[in-house]
Subunit: 217 residues, 2 copies
DNA sequence: CATAAAACAGACCGGTTGTCCTGTTTTGTC
DNA sequence: GACAAAACAGGACAACCGGTCTGTTTTATG
């Protein structure tokens, strides 16, 4: 009696992307062989080739579907949900730092990892990665523009660029030293450019505003 | 008559390192084959193997001799020669941005490029790269501590970490977008954290100070 | 149920990679 | 000049990689 087989194209595609995403982040694109991915995902060559004709196509799918989603989930969504762009950036920095310290190792930013390895290798890779960077920047800048507070003392585009650059660079150092501490140091340095006096606590944003009004009058 | 041969071990070693440094930066470590390097350097397999037994040994030499020297030449030396750490950082940012815009393409920071690809691959690589990052940071922090001006308003270690992170991240974005403009944007954002009020232009810092004094009085 | 397309299995192949190995030549040393 | 070590030449090789190919099974469609 021949063993049954159930076709699950979406599930198989997802499994391959899961494994590829993890391997690309941990070992990089070139150091990840399709053989290893096939073994890790429990997928045969025929199935892999059916969903992703070439290794490049697989990487492109990882970038556009997984890396972009990761940036959205860990950065854009939290920032948009925060009371302000500055608050959002601070929250993400601390959340990532806490997560890294808890898990004990640093694998780096998925976007930056692939960007460094693939930007110069292939223009199609480069454009796909640049699009994610651009969306990331614009989301932070738009959020800052939407904040009616923080009266235009700092340019939103510059702030967004600096926040992302500081995060990317800090992650690079954290990955190399295997220590997330530099993330917190960069955040502290970043907080130094706030136009308002140094914050005392996190809560009470409304309260502070009331106090300030009383002081003025 | 057999052709003559002149042994030049140092020159040959230097040529190999030259080619390897360039290829590692342009294509990365894994994408650079020893065959290509041999052909580009005009070196036979025997000679290459004599000076560098393995590819890893070659990369380690590139890191410790070339990448470290590049960081020293483009960052540490200029910063130490500048009137202040802040001035030095600003000068390096602008110098690199100008150089990139002139040459028309962006290959990224040699240190960060290799750090991303090799930090997780091999611990020996990671430690060598981390040492360069640490020296970079300490040089800027020490310089800032040596400045008697800038009265302790910002922590030197934080400033150094932020400056390097912003530069590394900005180079990452510049490499991905093939546009050095983000370097200048990050520099502008970085200048916002200066204890002095926000600058209006780039030139005439002394002139503005005079004008401001007149306005005040 | 017929049938075509999609989904999957598994072997195969040409090319490349890094390394090793055996010689030959040059160079330093006594 | 004898001689050992360093410097270099060049081929060989096993492992591996990515892609292709053929064949089989499942699924959708009518």
């Amino acid at each position: 009696m021949p063993k049954k087989r159930i076709n699950d194209p979406e599930g198989m595609r997802r499994r391959v992307l899961d494994v590829a995403e993890g391997s690309f982040q941990a070992r990089g694109y070139h150091a990840s062989s399709l053989g290893d991915l096939m073994a890790a995902a429990g997928v045969t060559g025929g199935a892999l080739h059916h969903h992703f004709p070439t290794k490049k196509a697989l990487a492109l799918a990882v970038i556009e579907e997984r890396v972009a989603a990761a940036v959205q989930a860990t950065w854009i969504d939290p920032v948009l949900a925060a009371p302000s762009a500055r608050e959002g950036v601070r929250a993400v920095f601390e959340a990532v730092a806490a997560e890294l310290e808890q898990q004990g190792y640093v694998r780096g930013c998925p976007l930056n990892n692939l960007a460094h390895e693939l930007s110069l290798a292939d223009d199609e890779f480069r454009v796909a990665l640049a699009r994610i960077f651009a969306g990331w920047r614009q989301a932070i800048a738009d959020k800052m523009r939407a904040d009616q507070m923080d009266g235009g003392s700092t340019d939103p585009d510059r702030f967004a660029a600096l926040a992302i650059a500081a995060y990317s660079g800090a992650m690079s150092m954290a990955k190399t030293s295997q220590d997330a501490g530099v993330l917190r140091e960069c955040l502290r340095g970043l907080e130094g450019l706030q136009p308002s006096p140094p914050p005392v606590g996190t809560i009470g944003k409304r309260r502070r505003r009331v106090l300030r009004r009383r002081e003025v009058r």
